[in-house]
Symmetry: C2
Subunit: 343 residues, 2 copies
């Protein structure tokens, strides 16, 4: 903790942030489109902390967040830009300080981008753990953190000490950490991270209940769909260390598919011993959406960029194919054969 | 940490343990039949620690441990009683101190029980987190711990300080902790536990790699079997909040079933919103083996005891039915209807 906090949350930067806040009548905290657990958790905790210090703070995200995050205390205060555009636009336009949390590109803010760009006076503060941070007046940016929520925890500790973390903030921060690390199974799992979690549990977080709320609540039809895809629709090529799954629109209908139901399925073939590259093809109205996952050295960001109009991270990326499912899969199979010898 | 260590590992007890060890030329560390990650991890770390202090220590388990634990450093030193009976029996018979790790009933030691009971001179030391500990000369017993490995960590810290934990011991202890808590998703997830994990990661444990080695390495046919069972063989009754899965011998053959392949499947229906009682029926040569899992108040230990010749814990138990699969399932369906109104 000491090391990261020294680098990322050193006293001079905290003092600068305090000065920005002290000069602000209104503060807008904003996070990214399709907000996930870390976006919502870190944004909620940060705004609750600043509000607790007496500041006028509102927290905006461009569009809705998944229902399963609604149990986070205070989540009713998250403002959805797409659904209350006028009020949000007015507040952001007049805000004296804009805090950008958990994103690296303003392009990730969708229609909210304009509102933020329209405010040319307020300084921007960044708190984020992604690569390529934008240049802001004040940046807390560190890719060594597994989640922005862990950064917000350290920020609060550096500003006010751990006693300033309320039990509500603790739940929000814990959600951010466990969603961005798959319940502490991937990412930068540093000693500091576990110590931060210890601190949050000390505040009353109940990890077992939260894990269940986040990771273990699905419909019967979703679980049946997963079973069907693994047993009937998964192709495995151990020679190429590759697997893929396809899901058609008809199958989505058959399993009463809801938004979020395909989440995580692309990771499942990676649990097979001989597989370290996995793809999932999902038929939509206008294209085949494809998710790619890898473990180890194979770079699916490059793969998605080069062959499937997409991109992302080294081990997790997405792309699209404009054409029928059969073509998309045939193209994939052909390409994998040629790129496989490279890795 | 302080609280548990004060109660469970108070200085007087540590001094007594040190005295026992100082008087011993040979120490036998023993753990339970069908040793799991916590049995192997805590036993390995404990014996490595005592060996490091200069004692002559050997670590015995009654039978083989799962292959996926073989990556733990030093696992080649675990002695399998069933496979090297003579040497083990002689050592245990003459040992000056017997340390019983991670079990609550000597009956869990199978044929090794005799060897231990034959030694009527050596004092017994217990280190364990299960209920109903036996009465030994010296007991470190605390059900507040999620794993014996966490207890061994605290024991080493109380005896010699955290610097005595080597990177090899750290891996073994981390394995014990994550296997007994389902990668920190159930059990007593206390602040102390996360701090212990932080300490282990500081020693060089790589959680992502270990999680993968333990939780994410299965055969293609096992994953296909899981898919098939979820899509074709799972019955869900939302009204009774109950689900069950059946697996016949023919299906085991079809999916090239290996020992351990059914592990964890009974938990999967519990991820369905409307399910809090799950059963899995597995046909064997001589009976139908049944696993029960629940969440919340329904006591599957009592259920298994009363109706299916079994028992276990409140939320995880097992039983048997002597008869064909169809009968076992019919009986189950009938009983569930009658007991359901009680919970």
């Amino acid at each position: 903790m000491v090391k990261n906090m020294k680098n990322t949350f050193d006293p001079a930067k905290i003092i600068q942030l305090q000065a920005f806040c002290a000069e602000a009548n209104t503060i807008a905290v904003v996070s990214h489109t399709n907000p996930d657990g870390d976006a919502i958790g870190s944004g909620l905790a940060l705004s609750a902390f600043l509000r607790g210090l007496g500041y006028d703070v509102r927290f905006f995200v461009p569009n809705r967040f998944p229902k399963f995050l609604a149990f986070i205390p205070g989540s009713e205060r998250v403002e959805i830009y797409a659904e209350a555009c006028e009020s949000a636009r007015a507040y952001i336009a007049d805000a004296d300080l804009i805090v950008c949390s958990d994103f690296n590109q303003v392009g990730r803010l969708d229609k909210m981008t304009d509102a933020i760009e329209a405010n040319v006076i307020a300084p921007r503060v960044l708190i984020d753990h992604h690569m390529n941070p934008p240049e802001y007046e004040l940046s807390f940016s560190d890719t060594g953190y597994s989640s922005t929520a862990h950064m917000v925890y350290d920020l609060i500790c550096a500003w006010s000490g751990p006693e300033a973390v309320t039990s509500e903030m603790a739940v929000a921060l814990y959600v951010g950490i466990v969603t961005d690390t798959g319940n502490l199974s991937y990412g930068n799992l540093t000693p500091d991270l576990y110590r931060a979690v210890a601190g949050l549990v000390e505040k009353g977080v109940r990890p077992v209940e939260i894990s269940k709320a986040i990771f273990n609540t699905q419909s019967e039809s979703r679980l049946r769909m997963v079973g069907y895809l693994l047993s009937e629709k998964m192709k495995v090529d151990c020679g190429l260390r590759t697997a893929y799954i396809t899901l058609t629109r008809a199958e989505k209908t058959r399993f009463n598919h809801q938004i979020g139901d395909t989440e995580g399925i692309v990771n499942m073939p990676l649990t097979i011993e001989c597989v370290d590259f996995s793809a999932m093809f999902i038929e939509t109205l206008d294209c085949i959406k494809i998710s790619f996952r890898s473990q180890g050295d194979f770079d699916v960001n490059l793969f998605a960029r080069e062959y499937f109009n997409g991109g992302g991270h080294k081990n997790a990326a997405g792309g699209r194919y404009y054409g029928p499912m059969g073509e998309a899969v045939a193209r994939f199979e052909e390409i994998v054969k040629t790129v496989h010898p490279e890795y």
